[in-house]
């Protein structure tokens, strides 16, 4: 119990400290001795990040990119994982290995060529580049993850539907997907969180203010100003809210999804 308590403090304190800093008026942040409980609460840091930057635009961009690519990857991965879970055919093993291999190779090695591809597609500085790449990068892992869920559902279920005259795709959509809801939500949330957090591709591809996602914008907070810690902590708090809400709502789903899909795959 003592160990659990100490670890809880260690885990919770950083987020507490960030929230506390974001709510302190500017002068209190640099005041000695440090305040561990708020004496005066102020929202000036939050007002500030909207005043000095287009933070609402970044939030919109991040939402758009993350949701759209999570949807795209989900549709593609449902199809591919269903096939890989239900059929064994020449090359199926190799496809699985090929997908697994993408998790091992440092993706940075492909960044240079990707930059050229995006510039040829005229997608630099557009959110389209991120939607495209985020979807593609998550296909392998989400396929492996969903495959685990499909394997837990007996194939007799859709075979019964097919005997009743349903097509295979129809059986997948009408019979299997409703049963798979937990797995699908877990995969969707996983994809959303990954996209929401991605930084380096976004730094590479996006430099235009109007197209920046939150991580890119926060990265430029570092380089532009000698970090304004009040604004920075406010931005941090705002940018973790969506993932925190999702995580709190669906923690059990994610945990189950990851253990079924990724590890027992």
């Amino acid at each position: 119990m003592i160990i659990l308590g100490i670890w809880l403090l260690f885990m919770v304190f950083p987020l507490y400290w960030m929230i506390l800093t974001s709510l302190k008026p500017k002068n209190d942040i640099f005041k000695f001795p440090l305040e561990y409980l708020p004496e005066r609460i102020s929202f000036e840091n939050y007002a500030n990040i909207f005043a000095i930057s287009k933070f609402h635009v970044y939030i919109g961009n991040s939402l758009l990119v993350s949701l759209l690519s999570a949807f795209i990857v989900l549709i593609i991965a449902i199809l591919s994982s269903y096939v890989l879970a239900r059929f064994t055919f020449r090359g199926s093993r190799q496809i699985m290995n090929g997908f697994f291999l993408t998790q091992m190779i440092p993706m940075f090695i492909g960044f240079g060529p990707l930059y050229s591809i995006m510039s040829q597609l005229n997608l630099l500085n557009k959110q389209g580049s991120l939607v495209l790449m985020y979807s593609v990068l998550l296909i392998p892992f989400c396929t492996l993850m969903l495959k685990g869920f499909f394997q837990r559902i007996p194939s007799s279920l859709e075979e019964a539907a097919m005997i009743d005259g349903c097509s295979r795709l129809g059986g997948l959509i009408r019979i299997i997907l409703p049963v798979m809801k937990p797995g699908i939500s877990a995969t969707f949330i996983f994809a959303f969180v990954q996209n929401w957090n991605e930084l380096f591709l976004a730094i590479m591809f996006i430099d235009r203010e109007e197209a920046k996602t939150i991580p890119v914008a926060m990265n430029s907070f570092i380089t532009k100003f000698d970090i304004d810690w009040g604004a920075m902590s406010a931005a941090t708090v705002l940018s973790v809210i969506p993932t925190m809400i999702l995580f709190a709502l669906c923690q059990r789903l994610i945990v189950q999804g990851l253990t079924d899909g990724a590890v027992k795959g």
Partner: protein, 303 residues
């Protein structure tokens, strides 16, 4: 089960269905993952810089020579090893102890789990920012706490002193990664059949014996798979270091992946980055082979 269908000379309905489902996944992955990686490997043998695109040519192993002769390379390699293995060992050890404790039911367990797992939903970049602020040399809260507890007598420049910088980024990485092991190991433990414990009880096993003879053997495949995967992920994870120190001060926190990032995103030298990438791939491959050999592939999870 449908092997026969696929081998028919004419495209059967099943084969057509398989293709219809797989191609939307395969084509993008080949075009936008494997092709760029392949090209990146080729660039490792080219003079390929974003700032001198008129002079692209093959230069053999020159990029590799440049990387291998970099005076900072010994430090970078040493940092990479420290970063990967100290993080891994502590993340695993703490995660394992936590999941053993969480294996018992107690009131509030769900909330507790949520609070110790949440770091895992955050980005490495944000985690880096948070710890950069807490480790700040002048007004950082960690210095303040240590001073209050009397553990230090003057402030430490955690991120500005090369002696402390590596320690600091590893602390942040442990904070981030324990949740992964706690999640995975707890889930694995929860799938242990009750009968195994009942049998152990009948044999009069105590807690430690149960752990050694029931829990560990049962979750061994999960342990092997998660630690194997984790090494690769930590190795390829520059985010926290990038946000906290960006490899500084004086290269004291550069690891291979931040070094590569530095060359590519900020230096535009795809050739050099490619060479670092190839070196990374070779090291990871050697590690994987060694690991599979050492743990006997058959015991690992089926991936």
């Amino acid at each position: 089960m449908n092997n026969a269908d696929v081998r028919k000379p004419r495209l059967s309905r099943t084969a057509a269905f398989i293709l219809f489902c797989l191609l939307p996944a395969l084509i993008p992955v080949v075009v936008l993952t494997y092709f760029p990686i392949f090209k990146g490997i080729i660039m490792a043998f080219q003079n390929y810089s974003l700032f001198n695109l008129n002079d692209i040519r093959f230069i053999g192993f020159d990029n590799f020579k440049t990387v291998l002769q970099d005076p900072n390379l010994p430090t970078i390699m040493q940092n990479t090893v420290l970063w990967v293995f100290i993080s891994l060992i502590l993340q695993f050890a703490i995660g394992f102890v936590l999941s053993l404790l969480l294996y018992q039911k107690f009131p509030g367990r769900g909330v507790y789990q949520g609070l110790i797992y949440y770091s895992w939903a955050m980005s490495g970049f944000l985690i880096g920012i948070i710890w950069r602020w807490m480790f700040n040399g002048q007004i950082g809260v960690i210095n303040d706490l240590l001073l209050k507890m009397g553990l230090i007598s003057e402030r430490i420049g955690f991120l500005s002193d090369p002696k402390w910088a590596m320690f600091s980024v590893i602390v942040a990485n442990i904070w981030y990664g324990v949740a992964f092991f706690a999640i995975m190991l707890t889930a694995a433990m929860q799938s242990i059949p009750e009968e195994l414990f009942e049998a152990a009880d009948m044999d009069g096993a105590n807690g430690l014996q149960k752990m050694l003879h029931v829990i560990i053997p049962y979750i061994l495949p999960t342990i092997i798979t998660t630690t194997a995967l984790r090494v690769i992920w930590i190795f390829n994870f520059p985010d926290i270091i990038y946000a906290m120190t960006n490899g500084g001060p004086a290269n004291s926190t550069h690891i291979l992946s931040t070094f590569m990032l530095d060359k590519i995103v900020f230096g535009g030298d795809y050739g050099l980055a490619g060479a670092i990438g190839v070196i990374s791939i070779v090291l990871l491959l050697l590690y994987t082979l060694f690991y599979l050999f050492a743990t006997k592939a058959s015991k690992a999870g089926d991936f």
